[in-house]
């Protein structure tokens, strides 16, 4: 038997024979001892081989148990999801209608006032809003208008669409979604540390009502940041302190009237360790005593701790131990059943933290709701950071909804 195995290995023709008929009895198996001969069928005389055909017979296509099969393998995959309940207010920056401001936000040494105008286009954009940014890149030919050269970006500086363009009083953007808009470089002194970014004068809410959030004063308008240039990869409003957008729609600010039930959720990233920074809140133009605010607190616990103040100035802060340097985006969800019940906060869908006992959000009349800073008759408390999304309900949502809201904020979905 062992001899037979060796012979089989030594003679490839033997293997060929087995392959040709696709048979399976190896030499020495029961019922298949084989026999030694010379040559193989059709192969002529030659070296000794082992012929197994005597106890195999011929199998044919006709006798096979297995037909020739033309086969497809179809599968169906379905993913269902429950979105979030329709908010009473949502400002999803990436999806919102945005109107850019006429004066670009300047940085650097004594920058001239660079303007942005609609030109032959429009300054109102939707989800395709450009992050228009210019920088002075070359002053070797002089620092004056018509001498200094600039670069222009449509994605807030992540990439530069055109470089080395000569400054001019009226530069019509030649291509991209902002084609036709006009950047105006006035006479002045230009230096290579100067930059300008497009600001946001007006944002319409995205829950379906298109509530207007607006700011007429250019220096108080937040910058619009393109998704390519934010840490979270989503479009955002960038507030650099003392800036805000205001809504005077009663349907918005009345959500906080008379110590109501509510749920407020937002996705933000704090870029500076301000002692306090307001993300949003209702206020009254005539009295700083009527404001409430929700936002940042770094009263010892780090940049990403979060605080709430009621209209009596009572505040509470959650106990996040996040570090004091992170600029990562974070979801913050506040909810209350109203009427002196507990106001809860949770971060990134974690467990409820912060204030215990009962708190009154406030009953004093407000007449506005702002994003980015307090908006009353006194010096405000300002946010330094990015606001990606804001969701507000006039009811307290349960954990299931809060989980879905957290997912929607994180993913930028509905």
């Amino acid at each position: 038997m062992r001899f037979a195995r060796r012979k089989c290995l030594e003679l490839p023709r033997c293997v060929d024979l087995r392959r040709a008929y696709a048979f399976n009895r190896r030499p020495g198996d029961r019922n298949n001892r084989g026999r030694v001969g010379s040559g193989v069928p059709g192969g002529g005389a030659g070296a000794p081989t082992i012929d197994f055909s005597a106890n195999l017979g011929l199998q044919t296509v006709a006798s096979l148990a297995t037909p020739v099969s033309f086969q497809a393998s179809l599968t169906l995959d379905i993913v269902a999801s429950v979105g979030i309940p329709t908010p009473d207010l949502r400002v999803q920056v990436s999806q919102a209608s945005k109107t850019l401001g006429g004066t670009m936000r300047a940085a650097g040494t004594a920058p001239p006032v660079v303007t942005l105008a609609a030109g032959t286009g429009s300054l109102t954009y939707g989800s395709n809003c450009p992050g228009i940014k210019v920088r002075i890149s070359d002053t070797s030919g002089g620092t004056g208008q018509g001498q200094a050269k600039f670069d222009i970006s449509y994605d807030s500086g992540n990439s530069w669409a055109h470089t080395g363009v000569t400054t001019t009083a009226s530069y019509s953007i030649p291509d991209g979604v902002a084609a036709g808009n006009v950047v105006g470089f006035p006479a002045g002194t230009y230096n290579t540390d100067q930059t300008w970014e497009g600001t946001t004068a007006t944002v319409l809410s995205t829950e379906g009502h298109s509530y207007t959030f607006t700011q007429a004063t250019a220096s108080i308008q937040p910058v619009f940041r393109h998704s390519a240039s934010t840490p979270d990869g989503k479009a955002a409003l960038f507030f650099a302190g003392a800036q805000y957008l205001r809504s005077t729609d009663a349907a918005v600010y009345n959500i906080f009237a008379n110590d109501p039930a509510f749920t407020l959720a937002y996705r933000v990233a704090y870029t500076a360790a301000d002692a306090l920074g307001t993300v949003c809140g209702p206020a009254n133009s005539g009295s700083s005593n009527k404001k409430r605010r929700f936002g940042q607190s770094v009263l010892g616990n780090g940049r990403q701790s979060h605080s709430w103040f009621n209209d009596a100035g009572t505040n509470a802060t959650n106990d996040s131990t996040a570090d004091n340097t992170s600029t990562s985006a974070v979801n913050v969800e506040w909810d209350s059943a109203g009427s002196n019940s507990t106001i809860q906060v949770r971060v990134n869908n974690g467990s409820n933290q912060g204030p215990a006992g009962t708190q009154n959000i406030g009953t004093l009349t407000t007449n506005r709701f702002s994003i980015g800073a307090e908006d009353d008759n006194a010096a405000g408390v300002f946010l330094s950071g990015l606001v990606y999304d804001l969701i507000l309900y006039s009811s307290q949502k349960g954990s299931s909804d809060l989980g879905n809201i957290n997912t929607a904020l994180a993913n930028g979905t509905s």
Partner: protein, 483 residues
């Protein structure tokens, strides 16, 4: 009705699925997974059904079943074991083939009796290979892929099932007391070929092996089971196409009965197998056109717009764990169904249920159908696009697959479709008449075209035995099927 995944560890179950009991019959328990095993030959009791509870004797199958369960897959594992075997022992006529088939058939009978009316997705898992790599004087390393193909086809034919998936555990490259197995490289390459793609071929070389490299340690089997489950989950959607719909598509393709796509596709929500009713429930719908279903040129079809259900009102719907697609509002003409990997709780007054754009995926996971042909059928079913029926097609032998550069053997033979094929049943259509086609000594594939010359390939299939010998493909010996 429920979609269940049947994992056939055949052939063979190899010796070492348990880790602590290589080669032994099953005595362990596996929680919540129907587990059928038997040790061959019949020195042990015939088929036993053992409901296993997890304990410290973890093996590959334990971890596999546990991980699939955790992911929501309703799993059945059938494992016919025989230690220290060769792949050619498991092909028709092989030493263990008949006994193995008998046990598999018994298991399949029990499974169908236990879950009447349920839908089954069949997987073939191969563990074999070590012996071929170590002892080529008894095994035949060079024939590993063809041997596996024969055992695979024989198992499918004997059980009357079609496999949707093949998963292969790579034979350890290092055997024979730490030295590379004589034929490990060869067997490994053939295993990859049989698996069809790297995503169906589990590389276990980095796992925890016993000295000598033949068996995994218990820790290694835990790694193996978890990784195998992850591979299966990644490559296995949880849904199926209804058999009646498969039949309709096959009859359309074979020019038996023209399939008319639905004007509207309806999505119904289910909780534990029961369609939601009341509390504001209504199915979601999409007009069946190219606006709502993205035209495809591949083997994958997706929805371009969402199915939006109304919100629950007056009461909760419950946790929706399955979505079924129908061609009628009443929900009787089913296209297919899918268990949700993430069930959704739909509560009174809460957010509404949606199947977002791109969240329905109908796919052919690679087959004998050409990509263009499959894309056309997918566009017909979902999207309502026209798909031309052919009265005559042309068959030709090839050496190697046409799609991978095989060479034609002999000429093309005209085949009149509607007189050559039976009506499809159970997702399978078989030939009703002989197709005379000249023998070709080097033929290994049969290919179908839409023209007598040039034209487009429609299907191709490997011949189960090469070369063919009788100058024809007899009636019943060719079939077209949707697994």
């Amino acid at each position: 009705m429920t979609v269940r995944h049947v994992l056939w560890a055949g052939f063979p179950g190899q010796s070492n699925n348990y880790g602590t009991n290589p080669g032994g019959s099953g005595s362990q328990t596996l929680a919540a997974v129907d587990y059928y095993d038997v040790l061959l030959p019949s020195t042990t009791p015939a088929l036993t059904q053992v409901l296993h509870a997890l304990d410290d004797t973890h093996g590959k199958d334990f971890e596999l079943g546990k991980a699939l369960n955790a992911a929501g897959y309703k799993t059945i594992i059938v494992n016919v074991c025989k230690g220290s075997t060769y792949a050619n022992d498991w092909i028709p006529g092989g030493t263990y083939y008949a006994a193995g088939i008998a046990e598999m058939q018994r298991a399949w009978t029990l499974i169908q009796a236990k879950y009447p009316g349920d839908t089954f997705i069949h997987h073939h898992i191969a563990d074999q290979g070590e012996e071929d790599a170590r002892y080529p004087t008894s095994g035949i390393p060079s024939l590993w892929a063809s041997n596996f193909a024969q055992s695979h086809a024989g198992l499918a034919s004997s059980l009357g099932i079609t496999f949707s998936k093949i998963w292969i555990n790579k034979t350890h490259s290092t055997l024979n007391n730490g030295t590379p197995g004589l034929y490990s490289t060869l067997v490994n390459s053939l295993q990859l070929q049989a698996a069809g793609s790297a995503s169906h071929f589990l590389d276990r070389d980095g796992y925890d092996w016993e000295p000598g490299g033949l068996h995994l340690t218990t820790a290694g089997y835990i790694q193996n089971g978890q990784a195998l489950a992850a591979m299966i989950i990644a490559g296995t959607p949880m849904g199926t196409i209804a058999t009646a719909k498969k039949n309709q598509l096959l009859n359309h393709q074979l020019n038996k009965v023209t399939y008319t796509p639905a004007a509207t596709i309806y999505a119904h929500a289910y909780v534990a197998g029961v369609r939601v009713t009341g509390n504001g429930y209504a199915p979601a719908s999409l007009t069946n056109n190219t606006t709502n279903w993205t035209h495809t040129t591949t083997r994958t079809k997706v929805n371009a717009n969402p199915f939006n259900f109304p919100g629950a009102s007056g009461g909760d719907w419950g946790v929706v764990d399955e979505i079924r697609l129908y061609e009628d509002l009443a929900g009787t003409d089913e296209i297919g169904r899918c268990t949700l990997a993430s069930p959704q709780n739909v509560v009174n007054g809460g957010a509404a249920l949606s199947v977002l754009a791109g969240a329905v995926t109908l796919a052919d996971s690679g087959s004998g159908f050409s990509t263009a042909k499959m894309a056309s059928l997918l566009n017909l079913l979902l999207g309502g696009e026209a798909d031309a029926q052919l009265a005559t097609v042309y068959w030709q032998y090839y050496q190697g697959a046409q799609s991978t550069g095989g060479t034609p053997q002999g000429g093309r033979v005209a085949v009149t479709q509607n007189t050559t094929w039976n009506d499809a049943s159970n997702g399978i259509a078989s030939t009703s008449a002989d197709v005379t086609i000249a023998d070709q000594a080097l033929a290994t594939w049969l290919v179908e075209f839409d023209a007598a010359a040039a034209g487009n390939m429609l299907f191709e299939a490997a011949l189960p035995v090469a070369p063919p010998t009788q100058g024809k493909v007899p009636a019943g010996q060719a079939r077209t099927l949707f697994a």
